[in-house]
Symmetry: C2
Subunit: 181 residues, 2 copies
DNA sequence: CCACACATGTAATAGGTTACATGATTAT
DNA sequence: ATAATCATGTAACCTATTACATGTGTGG
Protein backbone atom coordinates (compact mmCIF):
# COMPACT_ATOMS: atom_id res chain seq x y z
CA UNK A 1 0.00 0.00 0.00
CA UNK A 2 1.44 3.31 -1.07
CA UNK A 3 0.15 6.25 0.95
CA UNK A 4 0.65 9.89 0.08
CA UNK A 5 3.02 10.21 3.00
CA UNK A 6 5.37 7.75 1.38
CA UNK A 7 5.56 9.97 -1.66
CA UNK A 8 6.74 12.77 0.59
CA UNK A 9 9.32 10.55 2.25
CA UNK A 10 12.00 11.41 -0.22
CA UNK A 11 11.45 15.13 0.01
CA UNK A 12 11.93 17.30 3.02
CA UNK A 13 11.58 15.40 6.29
CA UNK A 14 14.43 17.43 7.69
CA UNK A 15 15.81 15.31 10.52
CA UNK A 16 16.16 12.05 8.62
CA UNK A 17 18.65 13.48 6.22
CA UNK A 18 20.67 15.60 8.54
CA UNK A 19 21.15 12.50 10.71
CA UNK A 20 22.13 10.55 7.63
CA UNK A 21 24.52 13.37 6.74
CA UNK A 22 26.20 13.17 10.12
CA UNK A 23 26.49 9.39 9.87
CA UNK A 24 28.02 9.79 6.42
CA UNK A 25 31.00 11.44 8.07
CA UNK A 26 31.54 8.73 10.60
CA UNK A 27 29.67 5.99 12.48
CA UNK A 28 28.05 7.26 15.65
CA UNK A 29 25.61 6.41 18.40
CA UNK A 30 22.35 8.21 19.00
CA UNK A 31 23.95 9.88 21.96
CA UNK A 32 26.84 11.13 19.83
CA UNK A 33 24.43 12.55 17.30
CA UNK A 34 22.58 14.37 20.02
CA UNK A 35 25.82 15.94 21.29
CA UNK A 36 26.84 16.96 17.80
CA UNK A 37 23.48 18.63 17.35
CA UNK A 38 24.00 20.49 20.58
CA UNK A 39 27.18 21.94 19.09
CA UNK A 40 25.18 23.04 16.10
CA UNK A 41 22.21 24.37 18.07
CA UNK A 42 23.22 27.88 17.13
CA UNK A 43 22.10 27.19 13.59
CA UNK A 44 20.06 23.99 13.54
CA UNK A 45 17.38 22.69 15.87
CA UNK A 46 18.45 19.82 18.10
CA UNK A 47 16.00 16.94 17.82
CA UNK A 48 14.92 15.33 21.06
CA UNK A 49 15.61 11.68 21.82
CA UNK A 50 11.93 11.13 21.26
CA UNK A 51 12.46 11.77 17.56
CA UNK A 52 16.13 10.86 17.27
CA UNK A 53 15.92 7.19 18.27
CA UNK A 54 12.74 6.39 16.35
CA UNK A 55 14.30 8.01 13.28
CA UNK A 56 17.38 5.86 13.68
CA UNK A 57 15.16 2.77 13.94
CA UNK A 58 13.30 3.79 10.80
CA UNK A 59 16.52 4.37 8.86
CA UNK A 60 17.67 0.94 9.99
CA UNK A 61 14.45 -0.71 8.86
CA UNK A 62 14.96 0.85 5.44
CA UNK A 63 18.58 -0.31 5.29
CA UNK A 64 19.87 3.23 4.98
CA UNK A 65 22.01 2.63 8.05
CA UNK A 66 23.44 -0.40 9.80
CA UNK A 67 24.18 -1.04 13.47
CA UNK A 68 26.92 -2.70 15.40
CA UNK A 69 27.26 -3.04 19.12
CA UNK A 70 29.85 -0.50 20.13
CA UNK A 71 32.87 -1.47 22.26
CA UNK A 72 31.84 0.78 25.13
CA UNK A 73 35.14 0.20 26.89
CA UNK A 74 34.47 1.66 30.27
CA UNK A 75 31.25 3.45 29.35
CA UNK A 76 27.92 1.67 28.90
CA UNK A 77 27.39 -0.38 25.75
CA UNK A 78 26.35 1.68 22.81
CA UNK A 79 24.96 1.10 19.35
CA UNK A 80 27.10 2.40 16.56
CA UNK A 81 25.16 3.38 13.49
CA UNK A 82 26.85 3.59 10.11
CA UNK A 83 25.50 4.75 6.78
CA UNK A 84 25.04 2.09 4.10
CA UNK A 85 25.60 2.42 0.37
CA UNK A 86 21.83 2.70 -0.08
CA UNK A 87 21.89 5.42 2.57
CA UNK A 88 24.53 7.38 0.70
CA UNK A 89 22.55 7.15 -2.50
CA UNK A 90 19.39 8.29 -0.74
CA UNK A 91 21.24 11.16 0.87
CA UNK A 92 22.62 12.40 -2.41
CA UNK A 93 19.25 12.11 -4.14
CA UNK A 94 17.56 14.05 -1.40
CA UNK A 95 20.21 16.73 -1.48
CA UNK A 96 19.90 17.26 -5.21
CA UNK A 97 16.11 17.14 -5.24
CA UNK A 98 15.74 19.56 -2.38
CA UNK A 99 18.01 22.09 -4.08
CA UNK A 100 15.28 24.62 -4.68
CA UNK A 101 14.30 24.64 -1.02
CA UNK A 102 13.61 27.88 0.79
CA UNK A 103 15.77 30.68 1.90
CA UNK A 104 15.93 30.33 5.67
CA UNK A 105 19.25 30.41 7.41
CA UNK A 106 18.27 27.21 9.16
CA UNK A 107 17.50 25.39 5.93
CA UNK A 108 20.82 26.46 4.52
CA UNK A 109 22.74 25.28 7.57
CA UNK A 110 20.95 21.94 7.50
CA UNK A 111 21.86 21.38 3.90
CA UNK A 112 25.37 22.60 4.58
CA UNK A 113 25.89 19.78 7.06
CA UNK A 114 24.80 17.31 4.42
CA UNK A 115 26.83 18.98 1.68
CA UNK A 116 30.00 18.60 3.74
CA UNK A 117 29.57 14.86 3.49
CA UNK A 118 29.02 14.80 -0.26
CA UNK A 119 31.17 15.58 -3.27
CA UNK A 120 32.97 18.87 -3.74
CA UNK A 121 30.67 19.70 -6.64
CA UNK A 122 27.55 19.29 -4.55
CA UNK A 123 29.03 21.64 -1.98
CA UNK A 124 30.03 24.19 -4.60
CA UNK A 125 26.55 24.08 -6.13
CA UNK A 126 24.98 24.57 -2.75
CA UNK A 127 27.11 27.59 -1.96
CA UNK A 128 26.55 29.15 -5.36
CA UNK A 129 22.83 28.61 -5.21
CA UNK A 130 22.76 30.14 -1.76
CA UNK A 131 24.82 33.07 -2.93
CA UNK A 132 22.27 34.02 -5.54
CA UNK A 133 19.46 33.67 -3.00
CA UNK A 134 21.25 35.97 -0.58
CA UNK A 135 21.93 38.50 -3.30
CA UNK A 136 18.26 38.31 -4.23
CA UNK A 137 17.29 38.97 -0.65
CA UNK A 138 19.63 41.93 -0.32
CA UNK A 139 18.42 43.54 -3.53
CA UNK A 140 14.74 42.86 -2.88
CA UNK A 141 12.51 45.83 -3.60
CA UNK A 142 11.63 48.02 -0.65
CA UNK A 143 7.89 47.90 -0.29
CA UNK A 144 6.00 51.13 0.03
CA UNK A 145 2.53 49.75 0.59
CA UNK A 146 -0.41 51.87 1.57
CA UNK A 147 -2.34 49.48 3.75
CA UNK A 148 0.17 48.10 6.24
CA UNK A 149 3.94 48.39 6.49
CA UNK A 150 3.94 51.99 7.60
CA UNK A 151 7.56 52.77 6.92
CA UNK A 152 9.25 51.71 10.13
CA UNK A 153 7.29 48.47 10.44
CA UNK A 154 9.51 45.63 11.64
CA UNK A 155 12.47 47.87 11.01
CA UNK A 156 14.68 46.26 13.59
CA UNK A 157 14.21 42.70 12.43
CA UNK A 158 14.71 43.68 8.82
CA UNK A 159 17.84 45.55 9.77
CA UNK A 160 19.09 42.48 11.59
CA UNK A 161 18.28 40.27 8.64
CA UNK A 162 20.08 42.55 6.22
CA UNK A 163 23.13 42.71 8.44
CA UNK A 164 23.32 38.94 8.78
CA UNK A 165 22.70 38.46 5.07
CA UNK A 166 25.62 40.76 4.21
CA UNK A 167 27.86 38.81 6.55
CA UNK A 168 26.74 35.58 4.98
CA UNK A 169 27.46 36.90 1.53
CA UNK A 170 31.00 37.73 2.61
CA UNK A 171 31.40 34.24 4.03
CA UNK A 172 30.06 32.62 0.88
CA UNK A 173 32.43 34.59 -1.30
CA UNK A 174 35.32 33.61 0.93
CA UNK A 175 34.41 29.93 0.75
CA UNK A 176 33.77 30.00 -2.98
CA UNK A 177 37.08 31.65 -3.73
CA UNK A 178 38.77 28.93 -1.69
CA UNK A 179 36.95 26.23 -3.61
CA UNK A 180 37.73 27.72 -6.98
CA UNK A 181 41.42 28.29 -6.38
CA UNK B 1 -9.99 19.96 34.16
CA UNK B 2 -6.49 21.25 33.98
CA UNK B 3 -4.26 19.27 31.67
CA UNK B 4 -0.50 19.53 31.50
CA UNK B 5 -0.78 21.12 28.07
CA UNK B 6 -2.63 24.04 29.59
CA UNK B 7 0.30 24.66 31.88
CA UNK B 8 2.50 24.85 28.83
CA UNK B 9 0.18 27.26 27.10
CA UNK B 10 1.86 30.26 28.58
CA UNK B 11 5.35 29.10 27.71
CA UNK B 12 6.82 28.55 24.30
CA UNK B 13 4.19 27.81 21.66
CA UNK B 14 6.13 29.90 19.17
CA UNK B 15 3.59 31.01 16.59
CA UNK B 16 0.93 32.25 18.98
CA UNK B 17 3.18 34.93 20.35
CA UNK B 18 4.90 36.04 17.24
CA UNK B 19 1.46 36.56 15.71
CA UNK B 20 0.43 38.47 18.80
CA UNK B 21 3.62 40.49 18.48
CA UNK B 22 2.82 41.45 14.92
CA UNK B 23 -0.72 42.40 15.86
CA UNK B 24 0.66 44.52 18.69
CA UNK B 25 2.21 46.77 16.06
CA UNK B 26 -0.96 47.23 14.08
CA UNK B 27 -4.26 45.49 13.32
CA UNK B 28 -3.98 43.07 10.44
CA UNK B 29 -5.75 40.30 8.59
CA UNK B 30 -4.54 36.72 8.43
CA UNK B 31 -3.45 37.37 4.90
CA UNK B 32 -1.41 40.40 5.96
CA UNK B 33 0.30 38.37 8.66
CA UNK B 34 1.19 35.71 6.14
CA UNK B 35 2.75 38.30 3.82
CA UNK B 36 4.69 39.85 6.68
CA UNK B 37 6.03 36.43 7.59
CA UNK B 38 7.10 35.95 4.00
CA UNK B 39 9.23 39.09 4.34
CA UNK B 40 10.79 37.58 7.44
CA UNK B 41 11.25 34.10 6.01
CA UNK B 42 14.96 34.69 5.94
CA UNK B 43 15.02 34.45 9.71
CA UNK B 44 11.72 33.02 10.90
CA UNK B 45 9.60 30.17 9.58
CA UNK B 46 6.42 31.23 7.82
CA UNK B 47 3.43 29.40 9.26
CA UNK B 48 0.97 27.97 6.78
CA UNK B 49 -2.64 29.08 6.65
CA UNK B 50 -3.47 25.75 8.19
CA UNK B 51 -1.91 26.91 11.43
CA UNK B 52 -2.31 30.65 11.01
CA UNK B 53 -6.10 30.85 10.86
CA UNK B 54 -6.77 28.32 13.64
CA UNK B 55 -4.28 30.19 15.83
CA UNK B 56 -6.10 33.43 15.16
CA UNK B 57 -9.38 31.74 16.08
CA UNK B 58 -7.87 30.44 19.30
CA UNK B 59 -6.47 33.83 20.24
CA UNK B 60 -9.90 35.29 19.61
CA UNK B 61 -11.59 32.69 21.79
CA UNK B 62 -9.21 33.62 24.58
CA UNK B 63 -9.89 37.33 24.10
CA UNK B 64 -6.26 38.05 23.35
CA UNK B 65 -7.32 39.58 20.06
CA UNK B 66 -10.51 41.10 18.67
CA UNK B 67 -11.92 41.17 15.14
CA UNK B 68 -13.65 43.70 13.00
CA UNK B 69 -14.81 43.33 9.44
CA UNK B 70 -12.32 45.19 7.33
CA UNK B 71 -13.41 47.81 4.79
CA UNK B 72 -12.02 45.86 1.85
CA UNK B 73 -12.60 48.79 -0.52
CA UNK B 74 -12.10 47.21 -3.86
CA UNK B 75 -10.56 43.99 -2.59
CA UNK B 76 -12.56 41.15 -0.99
CA UNK B 77 -13.83 41.63 2.55
CA UNK B 78 -11.28 40.89 5.21
CA UNK B 79 -11.15 40.36 8.93
CA UNK B 80 -9.00 42.78 10.82
CA UNK B 81 -7.54 41.36 13.99
CA UNK B 82 -6.33 43.67 16.74
CA UNK B 83 -4.58 42.86 20.00
CA UNK B 84 -6.57 43.40 23.19
CA UNK B 85 -5.30 44.66 26.54
CA UNK B 86 -5.33 41.07 27.80
CA UNK B 87 -3.34 40.14 24.73
CA UNK B 88 -0.71 42.75 25.44
CA UNK B 89 -0.39 41.53 29.01
CA UNK B 90 -0.08 37.92 27.87
CA UNK B 91 2.52 38.89 25.30
CA UNK B 92 4.65 40.70 27.82
CA UNK B 93 4.39 37.85 30.34
CA UNK B 94 5.43 35.33 27.74
CA UNK B 95 8.33 37.47 26.62
CA UNK B 96 9.69 37.83 30.12
CA UNK B 97 9.15 34.20 31.11
CA UNK B 98 10.77 32.84 27.99
CA UNK B 99 13.85 34.97 28.53
CA UNK B 100 16.15 32.05 29.22
CA UNK B 101 15.18 30.38 25.96
CA UNK B 102 17.81 28.78 23.74
CA UNK B 103 20.48 30.16 21.58
CA UNK B 104 19.24 29.62 18.04
CA UNK B 105 19.27 32.45 15.58
CA UNK B 106 15.66 31.68 14.82
CA UNK B 107 14.60 31.89 18.45
CA UNK B 108 16.34 35.20 18.78
CA UNK B 109 14.71 36.63 15.67
CA UNK B 110 11.31 35.47 16.84
CA UNK B 111 11.72 37.18 20.17
CA UNK B 112 13.14 40.24 18.43
CA UNK B 113 9.89 40.68 16.54
CA UNK B 114 8.00 40.59 19.82
CA UNK B 115 10.51 42.83 21.58
CA UNK B 116 10.02 45.52 18.96
CA UNK B 117 6.42 45.80 20.06
CA UNK B 118 7.20 46.02 23.76
CA UNK B 119 8.92 48.58 25.96
CA UNK B 120 12.42 49.86 25.29
CA UNK B 121 13.63 48.12 28.41
CA UNK B 122 12.39 44.73 27.26
CA UNK B 123 14.20 45.25 24.00
CA UNK B 124 17.39 46.32 25.71
CA UNK B 125 17.26 43.30 28.02
CA UNK B 126 16.73 41.01 25.08
CA UNK B 127 19.71 42.41 23.20
CA UNK B 128 21.96 42.30 26.23
CA UNK B 129 20.98 38.76 27.08
CA UNK B 130 21.62 37.73 23.52
CA UNK B 131 24.97 39.48 23.55
CA UNK B 132 26.19 37.38 26.43
CA UNK B 133 24.92 34.22 24.75
CA UNK B 134 26.76 35.06 21.56
CA UNK B 135 29.95 35.84 23.47
CA UNK B 136 29.55 32.54 25.27
CA UNK B 137 29.22 30.76 21.95
CA UNK B 138 32.26 32.45 20.48
CA UNK B 139 34.44 31.69 23.49
CA UNK B 140 33.20 28.10 23.88
CA UNK B 141 35.99 25.60 24.49
CA UNK B 142 37.27 23.78 21.44
CA UNK B 143 36.63 20.13 22.01
CA UNK B 144 39.45 17.68 21.49
CA UNK B 145 37.61 14.46 22.08
CA UNK B 146 39.07 11.09 21.35
CA UNK B 147 36.00 9.17 20.28
CA UNK B 148 34.37 11.31 17.60
CA UNK B 149 35.03 14.83 16.38
CA UNK B 150 38.26 13.98 14.63
CA UNK B 151 39.62 17.45 14.21
CA UNK B 152 37.98 18.65 11.01
CA UNK B 153 34.57 17.23 11.84
CA UNK B 154 31.80 19.59 10.79
CA UNK B 155 34.46 22.21 10.22
CA UNK B 156 32.54 24.07 7.57
CA UNK B 157 29.32 24.45 9.52
CA UNK B 158 31.18 25.51 12.62
CA UNK B 159 33.11 28.04 10.59
CA UNK B 160 29.88 29.37 9.20
CA UNK B 161 28.36 29.57 12.67
CA UNK B 162 31.33 31.43 14.04
CA UNK B 163 31.32 33.88 11.17
CA UNK B 164 27.63 34.63 11.58
CA UNK B 165 28.00 34.89 15.35
CA UNK B 166 30.74 37.48 15.00
CA UNK B 167 28.58 39.49 12.65
CA UNK B 168 25.71 39.28 15.06
CA UNK B 169 27.89 40.47 17.90
CA UNK B 170 28.85 43.52 15.86
CA UNK B 171 25.20 44.20 15.13
CA UNK B 172 24.22 43.83 18.77
CA UNK B 173 26.92 46.24 19.88
CA UNK B 174 25.78 48.72 17.28
CA UNK B 175 22.18 48.50 18.43
CA UNK B 176 23.06 48.63 22.09
CA UNK B 177 25.22 51.71 21.69
CA UNK B 178 22.31 53.38 19.90
CA UNK B 179 19.94 52.48 22.71
CA UNK B 180 22.28 53.67 25.43
CA UNK B 181 23.11 57.02 23.86
C1' DC C 1 -12.34 35.12 -20.17
C1' DC C 2 -8.62 33.72 -17.76
C1' DA C 3 -4.84 34.14 -14.80
C1' DC C 4 -3.40 36.20 -10.74
C1' DA C 5 -3.50 38.48 -6.29
C1' DC C 6 -6.58 38.85 -2.50
C1' DA C 7 -8.91 36.41 1.18
C1' DT C 8 -10.59 32.68 4.46
C1' DG C 9 -11.07 28.34 6.02
C1' DT C 10 -11.03 22.79 7.33
C1' DA C 11 -9.63 17.66 7.73
C1' DA C 12 -6.24 14.31 7.58
C1' DT C 13 -1.90 13.46 8.71
C1' DA C 14 3.07 13.93 9.59
C1' DG C 15 6.36 15.31 12.61
C1' DG C 16 8.00 16.56 16.70
C1' DT C 17 8.25 17.35 22.00
C1' DT C 18 7.43 16.14 26.80
C1' DA C 19 7.48 13.17 30.24
C1' DC C 20 8.38 8.92 31.66
C1' DA C 21 11.19 4.59 32.38
C1' DT C 22 15.57 2.23 32.79
C1' DG C 23 20.26 1.22 33.51
C1' DA C 24 25.80 1.43 33.50
C1' DT C 25 29.95 3.89 34.79
C1' DT C 26 32.88 7.52 36.66
C1' DA C 27 34.13 11.19 39.65
C1' DT C 28 33.45 13.39 44.16
C1' DA D 1 26.70 6.95 48.46
C1' DT D 2 25.32 10.06 45.25
C1' DA D 3 25.54 13.18 41.62
C1' DA D 4 26.79 13.57 36.92
C1' DT D 5 27.52 11.80 32.50
C1' DC D 6 26.83 8.18 29.37
C1' DA D 7 23.28 5.55 27.01
C1' DT D 8 18.73 3.84 25.07
C1' DG D 9 14.10 3.78 24.60
C1' DT D 10 8.47 4.44 24.54
C1' DA D 11 3.68 6.52 24.88
C1' DA D 12 0.83 10.39 24.99
C1' DC D 13 0.19 14.46 23.18
C1' DC D 14 0.72 18.97 20.65
C1' DT D 15 1.61 21.51 16.70
C1' DA D 16 2.20 22.31 12.12
C1' DT D 17 1.93 21.03 7.22
C1' DT D 18 -0.42 19.34 3.15
C1' DA D 19 -4.08 19.17 0.43
C1' DC D 20 -8.41 20.46 -0.29
C1' DA D 21 -12.44 23.70 -0.75
C1' DT D 22 -14.35 28.21 -1.79
C1' DG D 23 -15.01 32.80 -3.25
C1' DT D 24 -13.99 38.09 -4.76
C1' DG D 25 -11.78 41.64 -7.47
C1' DT D 26 -8.33 43.35 -11.02
C1' DG D 27 -5.55 43.46 -15.15
C1' DG D 28 -4.37 41.78 -19.51
Amino acid sequence: MVTSSMILWGRLVSTRYIILGLLAQQPMSGYDIKSLFKDLSWLVDTPSYGSLYPTLHALLAEDLVSVSIGPGQGKPTRKLYAITVAGQTALQSWFRESATAGLSIRGFARRLVVASSLSGDDLKDHLMQRRSQVVGYLTRPKDTDGRRKGGSDQQLVHDYGTFIAKAELAWLDEQLSKLLS
